[in-house]
Symmetry: C2
Subunit: 72 residues, 2 copies
């Protein structure tokens, strides 16, 4: 599954995660998602659902619309 | 599949669609999605994916983050 929108979202998640000094493992634990899933999201390999977007945003303590800024 | 985040998103899609005077059918056609799928999204019955969020936002001519404002 390759799509520009997924690549852009993955980069936003990665940037926000690194800004908060979190490893993929730590983010996965906070978001109650699997570490490999976080890796796939960051590489744009997964067409993430809205519920999981919500979990990741909450774990990063960032608003969903902030996490999706300039993703169009 | 019931979740507050899906209900909120469904309402935002519905409001934006009605503001633009579009029927579910017309939005579905523009977004290249099925009409019943649009109905399910607006009722919060579907855990929509990011690619389909992108399709609906584009069809409504609205930024994705705008469509997801205050959805946390």
């Amino acid at each position: 599954m390759r799509a520009e929108i997924l690549d852009k979202f993955g980069k936003q998640v990665r940037d926000a995660r690194l800004q908060r000094g979190l490893s993929q493992e730590e983010l996965a634990e906070k978001a109650e998602l699997h570490r490999t899933y976080i890796g796939m999201i960051e590489r744009g390999e997964k067409n993430i659902t809205l519920i999981n977007i919500g979990k990741i945003a909450k774990a990063l303590a960032i608003a969903i619309d902030e996490l999706l800024k300039d993703i169009n």
